[in-house]
Structures are given as C-alpha cells and as structure tokens.
Symmetry: C2
Subunit: 332 residues, 2 copies
Amino acid sequence: MRDVAKLAGVSHQTVSRVINDHPNVRAETRERVLAAMRSLNYRRNLAARTLATRESGTLGILGFETTLFGPESMLYGIESAARGAGYLVSVATVRELAHRPVLEAVDRLAQHDVDGIIAIAPKPAVANALTHAPAGLTCVAVGGAGSGADPFPTVRVDNATGARLATQHLLDLGHATVHHAAGPPDWPEAQARVDGWRETLYAAGAVVPPITPGWWDAAAGYEQGRRLAADRAVTAIFCANDRIALGVLRALHEAGRRVPDDVSVVGFDDMPDSGYFLPPLTTMHQDFGELGRRALSLLLNHMSQDDGDGPPPSHVLVVPEVVLRSSTAPAR
Amino acid sequence: MRDVAKLAGVSHQTVSRVINDHPNVRAETRERVLAAMRSLNYRRNLAARTLATRESGTLGILGFETTLFGPESMLYGIESAARGAGYLVSVATVRELAHRPVLEAVDRLAQHDVDGIIAIAPKPAVANALTHAPAGLTCVAVGGAGSGADPFPTVRVDNATGARLATQHLLDLGHATVHHAAGPPDWPEAQARVDGWRETLYAAGAVVPPITPGWWDAAAGYEQGRRLAADRAVTAIFCANDRIALGVLRALHEAGRRVPDDVSVVGFDDMPDSGYFLPPLTTMHQDFGELGRRALSLLLNHMSQDDGDGPPPSHVLVVPEVVLRSSTAPAR
DNA sequence: TTCGTGAGTGTTACCGTTCTCAACGTGCTC
DNA sequence: GAGCACGTTGAGAACGGTAACACTCACGAA
C-alpha cells in the first residue's frame, strides 16, 4: 500500500480511501491510485484490515458432521449467496449435537473473527448453545422447530404443514387412514411431521395408528417398512423423509405388496433421485438451496442493524410443496 | 495480551512465548502467565497473528457447486481432520469447472490468507488453473484422473481398477459380455471407468458393446437403461455410479426385465442407501471421508516442507472394493 | 474583507501479534 | 578469577491496514 501511495504520489490514507470507495476523493486522484494499484498488482491485505476493523469478511457455518441430505445441499446455497455479498464462508462441524461441542465450534469460528454465524440447528441443543455465543456475534439458526420466539433469527421449514399436506393427499385418495414411518423422536422436525400427520387424521376422524421411533436413513425405513408390510390393513404410508421411503418401498416389495396398487407411499424432502425410485416417489419438495439463501440474507440483515437492541428477530417459515409422482394411487 | 503481561508481571513478549510454547521460559514464569491468561479469559487474536506471521490457521477447500455425492461427503472428512490439526476450513465453490472461475475462487481463498488449498478437481480445467495459483501457496488436488505427473500432490481413486473389478465380477458370473452405462465423457473419472471396463472385456475376449454419453444422475441412467433394456442380449450392466444404476434399475423394471434374474447390475460409489435399492445394489465402495483425510494429510505434509523445491509431489491412489449385494447373479 | 464550511488530502496513532536484537544473570571452563 | 556460552527476559520495530484529526484550499455569505 505504501508503494502504491508512493507511485501515485499520494498518502497511504488516500489509497485506503480509494479502496473503500470513500466519496471525498477527486476523480483524477482516484484514477491515478487505481492505475498504480493495477501496475503494482496490489491486493489489500485482509488480515491487516481485520485487525484494524474487527471485521473479517468471513461468515461461519456451523454444520453437522453427517451425510444427511438437507444440511449438505444448504451449504452451496449459502456459499454462493455469501460470495455475492463479498463474504467467504468457513465451516465448523460438530460430531454430536450437544451443548459442549457446539460451543466449541462457535468458539473456533469466533476466534477466526467471523462476522456472523449460520447454524444448522436441527436439535434444540444447538439453539441453546447459540444463546451463549459471544455478544456482538450475530447468529441465525436454520432448521429445527422452535417456539417461534427464539432470541435470534431463524429459518425453518413448516414441517407440520408439510405433513398435513402429505397426509391429506393420501386421505383425499380415499384411504381410510394413513400410517407413518417416523424419524427420530428427539428431532423436532421429525416430531413436527408426526404432529401434522396426527392432527390431519384427527380432523378427518380417522384412526391414528401407532408409530415407532426411527432414524433418517433407508435402513431404519426398511425396519419400519417390514412392520407395516406385515399388516394387511395398511394401505397408505407417510414417510418422514425420502430415504426412509426408500427403505419402506423395499420392505413392501419384499412382502409382495405392490406400490401404489396395494399401498400408497409419500416421502418428504424430494431429494435428487427420488423420482427414480421404484416406483417414482410422491413427496414433499424442499428447496434447501433456497433455505440457505434465505438464512444468509437474514443474517446480513441483522448484522447491518445489530447496533443497539434492534428489532426483534425475524422468523422465516418455508412451506414444502407436494410433488406428485407414481407412488400414490386411489384406495381400492 | 498487554493486560495479561501486566497481571503476570512480565513483558508482552514473554506472554507471546508462552502462547507459542517457546522452550526458553522458566516453568514458574510460564505458570504465572498461564494463570493470568485464565483469569483474564484471554484469547489470542488470530488476525494480528496472521498479520505478523502470514499464517492464518485456515485451509481452503475449492469445491464444485453441485449435489454430487462424492465431493460433499469429502468435506466432512477434511473438516474434521483439519480441526484435529488446528485448522479451520474455508470453502470456495465454483459453478462451472472452467479456468477462469477456478482462478477466481483460488484468488478469493488466497486473499483470505489460507495456508493451503485442497481442490476438488474432477476435470483437468481445475488442475490446470491450480498451476497458476500464487507461488508459495500449497495445493493438493483430489479426484479426477491425471497423468500421475502433476506438479502438485494428488489423491485419486483408481477408477480403472475399480471398473476392472466390477466388470470381472460380472464376467466371472458367466455373462458373455458386460454393457456399460457411462458417465459424462469429458470427465476423466468417467473415462477411466470406461477404459477399465473395456480393457477387461478385451482381455477376456468378450465383445465390447457401444456406449453412449451420459451424466452422473438417475435421469441420465434411466435414459441409458431404456436403451439397454430394449436389447434382449443384455444380461449384465456396469454403471458409472450408483445414481445411474438407480435409473437403470427403474428402466429395466419398466421393461419387465428382472434384476438380477434376467440382468445383473453393478454400480460405483456405494452411496449411503444403495443397499436399499430394488434390488440392493452390488457396487464398488469408495470411502470419500477417507479420501478427504488423505488429501489433508498430504497437504499438511507438503506445507511443512515447502521451503526450497522439496521432494517431488506425492500421488495417492485409492482402490475401491467390491460390495456384493443382490443385483448380480450368475448368467443363465 | 473576513470568516465559516466542506471537499480533498496528509499525519499520526492504533489494532494485537511476532521478530530481532540486546541485556542480564548464572554456571561452567580454563 | 576472567571469559564465555546459554537460558531467560525485555524493549522496540515491524506486519498492513483503518480511524481520528488536522490542515489546506476554494467558495459563498455576512
């Protein structure tokens, strides 16, 4: 920077002003400085800037170390949006969604002076830990299913509504009731899907079948599918996600129950290849990339106005949509 | 830091020495400093350290903005290993695997003073761009299929061998020949799989069926599957990855050709739920997390010895393994 | 004419580390 | 007992920017 200043015949401060688009610089001077910068191939040193301003131009993403489809695809949405806003993203993952590890991850990010954090927070432990983040560090939580009164902005999927839509779709097809292949009971998103499903059945005066605790993958879905396939009364199944649905489909197939002729199946997520399951899966579409972008814009919003207490945190709720394919059919 | 020094009754320099585990500090002094640090809840400012040392404690990952399974799951392997080594990872993604965007992404990372870069480099454009990275910035490429003589370290999957194993497995089952549902022809990894497949057929004296250009997803697999299903001579198909295999399975099913009774199918990748396809997919297992860890350790290795020209770059080659499930059976 | 005002620019301090080098014991060797 | 190496410590200068403030003009109003 000193070299640039010398070459342009100005002070380093003027160079700084040019870099930061300060208005009070004569156009001719600015040109001279820009020319000098070009000819010296000057690049501003971000570390020095960070030291002086306490702003790093970096955003932190707090992730969950696993191969769940949702969290992964969100990363790209966030990253590309962040790039557009001039930020780089750093990732810190936790192996376990517990208080301590999450705090440590936040700490790692804070130590690197991130300007804000987007936390993938599918379980309350993450959100709780977030409230203990250093003051002045803006956080946004995405995922999970909170009270809607969290002390920080959130972006969430309206899982209950999604589940209602899925269940109603099956009821509308004439099924007497709808069974549910549930996710892990300690995940609020899974619980919200159970709630939406159950409410819809109540409202329709349908029997509410029992559920068993599960997990998000096909293996767990297969287990549940075996249970459900054994019961000839089952004609419609709403699965907590597409991977579970994949397992359920296999179990039904092995039991000789045809989909959708004998049993209708609905998934949740609309992951990339669910249109190629056997049969192609009717499911609830979620746009995770969009979710990430929304989270980012929320974060930037709150970062810019975090002086004082500011307005109450915003809460974005995204409603999934039904994607009709071939795994559902009218009850016979 | 000044406060810590004052409280401990030493100079700031001594505090710095304690932080950096400099040997020449009296044990008693060190204790005093550590106590002061604890009581003041001192945290070293990384930006200042970066400014002084030009080392940021951050590693860059150059990714590809898409939902391909491999690249995604590598991230977690890298991140957790990096964490263990005391690094944070920053991610820069490109939308397009071309020269310019890749250079820009490298540039973004360089501007944030990353100490090294792991580039997901499935296509040569990435590797080429990497050679133009700023001098002194250590890079490692993972993926793709280079000459084995790249100027930087690489971690690669031995796709040709994987394809050979898959093809041989099908030949060993008694199939006269093996058809191939290929990936995109301009991706070296896809090409290597074609090569391995073709060589194996040659060696066995089997007919080499024609292939058509494809893509990595189930939709493309479905297209290829329809073509192959129409040909009653097809009894064995080696798919360039599991997603393609999913599409192929659907196409075969719709054509009334049973798997594995009429046709055997093998995939590549062993993605999480391929054991729950209909039928469960025999495939080539790749451990992407491990790939990421290998890449990281290679990077750290080369970073520590990058003074001078150092030794020639290492090249790691990982061989995939056959995972036998139910989509293959002896020819009838 | 005189003074205030605001645009344009420079000067100096400061952000929180590490690096370089000098200074001070202390114990050992000769 | 003098000289010397070495372990221990400190003072000051980087590192490369930004912030705060002072200064110089040109211009318009009093």
